[in-house]
Symmetry: C2
Subunit: 227 residues, 2 copies
């Protein structure tokens, strides 16, 4: 508390921390270096704050992760639901979900360990209901449809991210990863058992990025036929 005012002011100007900024910086950090990089100390340093100060925003580290997940679910909200047929409306919501999921792969690693019931999770659910409102289903049936679609979608996002996550973990280039897994799979199927897997190739074990639409259409067709 010494020296001319402006000096003090400049030094103490770090602009009062907000929950919003804490969470979004945490999300950025997780995107950039993985969820493991998000430690209380590290995040505090990134925000020029003291570690324990962050605990005024959340009770335990794990709660921060809940907040981060809801933040991502917030990004999954669409601005406008197209007014065409219910299928393309629903797909607009789903594609947005996938696109955002791809940008925040770490979400998949914690999605199984917590219930996503935050405000943005609810808003996002609301949008899904809106998308299929044109079908005029009773709420109970609409719920069952969306549940199945949601199940399929999260399975897809999770499975699709596995390969990239594994590659990142082992710090392999795409080519290195492919070569090493190809060699391994060749070895695995070499003994002659596993004939179907051998015939199907690597995509039997590693789903990859394709095929979302095909399965979704089967699901929706099946639903429609069941009416």
């Amino acid at each position: 508390m010494t020296g001319p005012i402006w000096t003090r002011q400049a030094a103490s100007k770090p602009e009062r921390l907000t929950l919003e900024t804490v969470v979004s910086r945490a999300v950025e950090l997780a995107d950039r270096e993985g969820l493991d990089a998000v430690s209380v100390r590290r995040l505090a340093a990134e925000l020029s704050a003291r570690p324990m100060s962050l605990y005024s925003f959340f009770g335990r580290k794990d709660d921060l992760v809940d907040l981060m997940v809801d933040h991502v679910l917030g990004e999954m909200l669409v601005d406008r639901i197209p007014g065409d047929d219910w299928r393309s409306a629903l797909k607009a919501v789903l594609y947005r979900q996938i696109e955002v999921g791809r940008r925040h792969r770490w979400v998949m690693s914690v999605f199984g360990t917590r219930a996503p019931i935050g405000p943005n999770a609810a808003r996002h659910a609301e949008q899904s209901f809106e998308a299929i409102a044109g079908l005029g289903l009773p709420p109970e049936r609409a719920t069952r449809l969306l549940r199945a679609v949601d199940t399929y979608l999260w399975g897809y996002v999770t499975r699709a991210g596995q390969e990239a996550a594994a590659r990142r973990r082992d710090q392999l280039s795409e080519q290195e990863w492919r070569e090493s897994t190809d060699a391994y799979l060749a070895d695995l199927t070499g003994k002659g058992d596993l004939p179907h897997v051998a015939a199907a190739g690597r995509s039997a074990l590693l789903p990859g990025d394709d095929g979302f639409d095909e399965g979704l259409d089967w699901l929706l067709d099946g639903f429609e036929r069941s009416r």
Copy 2:
């Protein structure tokens, strides 16, 4: 190295550690107290071994988790695939998968972060192909069917486990959890936006355990119709 032989023998009888026992004890521990409880030190203590000794079985802790996952996938193998129609054969495989998944909920929390391509993952994939062999599909098409089914199944297991995982994390009884979430959801939908979510109730956000078969049947019906 002193005293009568039998004494020495009895004292040094801890029966040479095996990879198999290390992994299955780790799985037990994770089942019992959650994946976080599986630390190298803790596991070593459980096995009356020294922490660093375990590193002769795996290069890094994370590899142990891979082994644990493959161990669980091994449990998912069925003894016999029923020879009836392809649908019930496939369902036999899937039900087993769900049942085992329910017993090892921690798997979902790491499923997104690694590629399940271990030997048991391959064997399990092989069984899935066998189950639908009766359809006589070309490998490429069989792969796409199984990919969609697998996607749906993993999404289901993950989503279904969320509620239990969250409850466990907060150490709430089933009733306490239900009461607190009900109160929260009532508050959330009280403002009047989110009308669909309000109408659908808690199952709009928390899928719960039901509805696997319904969605699966839609998926399979849709596939069948696409032939």
